[in-house]
């Protein structure tokens, strides 16, 4: 039987960049599970929710095939994310996944992962947050993730979902990072649609997690140096207790800064820039990038030069990269699949004082509406 025992361990660099790849026409859910097949995962725990369910069902199949050492369906998202916390503390490689309302249910636990310095990978298949009840695509939940302390990558397509998931494990477990990595894609557009995905051989896998080389001790009752509990409540009412908690929070932000090097290395930069010399720019992440690419092509057919900045990493946010890429811009639009416009807010805050470009407050669609390229073109040129 094919299983992880028969796979050959290679470095993350070899698996991500050097190993020969073959193409497969697969869904995003299949791409994510194929990444997990090659990730040497010890345990996967989740609670089903649309549109995440198909991925976790396929990861259950990986358990049956012997590619994952343990797997179960938790009682709900609070249970799933808490169990993953415990698993990560014991030093094993672990992953979970959720969507919109499920993510919101477990948000307290999700926001506790970074403070506990828990390496893990969290797949987010974005969907509307209820109510009213809907299962349609919308990435509002990423707004809540932005200040959760998790590293947050936003994939454009099925290929990104495969590559970012594999990279997430490697980034998460670096000693100077030691943080959870959330890999998000827009539900249905990516998870349930097929596209060509290039993948290295399934006979290869990542090295196992080296939990004794991370920033905190693991819970290991056999090893004296780490037979110590950690993260006891810091709630004694005196200044120094407050200061420790403050320093602890600073350390999470510092770890994000340190992660820039590894995020950039493993996903080929925090941004991708197309037509950097253009004065009219689109800044987008996730599926909005794909729509923007097509709008850019149509604009070129109309004889208009438009640039595109694909934001791959939301946390750490590509501050320096965005400022550099926008230094010649005169007009910027930020297409998004959510109502509040969290990327627009990030872009404005980042470029404030660093660009003279006018930043349009849109376009945005939400609640399951698709983003027609005509809408992007209209916003691009309506000032003319």
């Amino acid at each position: 039987m094919a299983n992880t025992v028969n796979q050959r361990v290679v470095t993350p660099e070899h698996l991500l960049f050097e190993a020969p790849r073959t193409k497969a026409f697969i869904t995003g859910s299949e791409a994510a599970s194929e990444a997990v097949r090659r990730a040497n995962v010890d345990i996967a725990i989740a609670y089903p929710i649309t549109p995440q369910s198909e991925t976790m069902e396929r990861i259950g199949n990986l358990f049956a095939e012997g590619y994952i050492r343990d797997y179960y369906r938790a009682e709900d998202e609070v249970g799933a994310f808490s169990a993953i916390s415990g698993a990560s503390r014991t030093g094993v490689r672990c992953m979970t996944a959720s969507s919109g309302p499920g993510l919101m249910r477990g948000l307290e636990t999700i926001a506790s992962w970074p403070g506990h310095r828990l390496p893990l990978v969290f797949l987010i298949m974005c969907r509307v947050i209820n109510a009213p009840l809907s299962i349609q695509p919308d990435n509002l939940e990423l707004d809540y993730m932005l200040t959760s302390g998790n590293i947050l990558l936003h994939g454009e397509n099925q290929q990104d979902f495969f590559d970012y998931t594999l990279a997430g494990f490697a980034i998460s477990e670096k000693c100077e990072v030691t943080l959870p990595v959330a890999v998000a894609v827009d539900g249905f557009f990516v998870t349930h649609a097929r596209a060509w995905v290039e993948m290295p051989s399934a006979e290869l896998k990542l090295p196992p997690r080296d939990c004794y080389s991370e920033a905190v001790p693991m819970i290991d009752n056999e090893n004296p140096p780490v037979r110590i509990a950690r993260d006891a409540p810091i709630q004694k009412s005196n200044f120094i207790s407050y200061q420790m908690h403050a320093a602890w929070q600073q350390e999470i932000h510092a770890a994000h800064e340190r992660s820039r090097k590894w995020v950039s290395r493993y996903i080929n930069g925090l941004v991708e820039v197309v037509n950097p010399e253009a004065e009219t720019l689109i800044v987008a992440s996730g599926s909005a990038v794909s729509q923007s690419r097509e709008a850019l092509r149509q604009a070129e057919e109309m004889g208009k030069k438009v640039g595109l900045i694909k934001v791959k990493s939301l946390r750490p946010f590509p501050t320096a990269e965005l400022r550099a890429a926008c230094r010649h811009a005169k007009r910027i639009i930020v297409p998004e699949f959510n109502c509040p416009g969290w990327l627009n807010r990030e872009v404005r805050a980042t470029l404030y004082g660093h660009s003279e470009a006018k930043i349009a407050d849109g376009p945005r669609v939400y609640g399951g509406i698709t983003m027609p390229t005509e809408l992007i073109l209209e916003w691009l040129f309506k000032s003319e």
């Binding site: 080389s213 810091i234 200061q243």
Partner: protein, 225 residues
């Protein structure tokens, strides 16, 4: 330098100084060191560390769990190298950080340093230069931030991993060889004529708590205030 002007100097820096990593200080690669926020060669970093250890008040080594127990091959040798280092620093003290949990109702600052209130140990013992070794990076980092905020202690880190932006001098990927290289740098400085601040009190100095233990007395923690 890393293209930014932020400097990580001894404090006290005040209420809540920023994390150096968020001010543009980046970690050194293998073969490099970090001195006050600037990238240096390993040799230059060792020389700075050696000078500070020989000239500042009450040099102290803070060994953490990763060198206090021989839990892995190579650790015993690394611990031996720490003792060799201590023997070259006249007047040095060794105060361990064996555990990261808060110690309530209060710590004995002569017995341990604790990441929940490291400044108590620094203040009580009037430590103006210290070496962290074998402390897990997360706990070293938060401790270093608090020391820099509230004390004037010069912090040195011999890190088994990627190093520490918030210490004044940091060497990454430090195994027993790097510890012995620091010992050699200290010997070289002394050979070059640098007279250690505590030249007249050579050897490792015991704290009162350690003295009591060494004499076979039953040591009790400090009474609760």
């Amino acid at each position: 330098m890393n293209g930014n002007e932020y400097r990580v100097k001894p404090g006290p820096e005040g209420l809540l100084p920023p994390a150096a990593a968020c001010c543009g200080v980046i970690l050194p690669e293998k073969g490099q060191g970090l001195v006050e926020g600037a990238l240096k060669s390993e040799n230059d970093t060792l020389r700075v560390m050696a000078r500070e250890l020989l000239t500042r008040q009450n040099p102290t080594i803070f060994p953490g769990p990763l060198v206090l127990w021989a839990w892995r091959e190579g650790v015993a040798d690394k611990a031996a190298s720490v003792l060799e280092l201590a023997n070259e620093i006249p007047g040095v003290r060794i105060i361990p950080m064996p555990d990261y949990r808060p110690i309530y109702p209060k710590i004995d600052p002569e017995a341990v340093i604790n990441p929940c209130h490291p400044n108590l140990t620094i203040w009580h013992n009037k430590i103006e230069v210290c070496v962290f070794i074998g402390v897990h990076c997360h706990f070293a980092n938060i401790t270093l931030k608090m020391i820099r905020a509230g004390t004037n202690c010069y912090t040195i880190t011999l890190c088994h991993a990627a190093g520490h932006e918030d210490s004044m001098a940091s060497l990454p990927f430090a195994d027993a060889n790097q510890v012995r290289a620091l010992t050699a740098a200290i010997r070289k400085l002394k050979r070059e004529g640098l007279r250690p601040r505590y030249a007249d009190t050579p050897g490792i100095q015991l704290t009162a708590a350690q003295e009591a233990l060494s004499q076979g007395l039953v040591w009790q923690p400090a009474p609760v205030a």
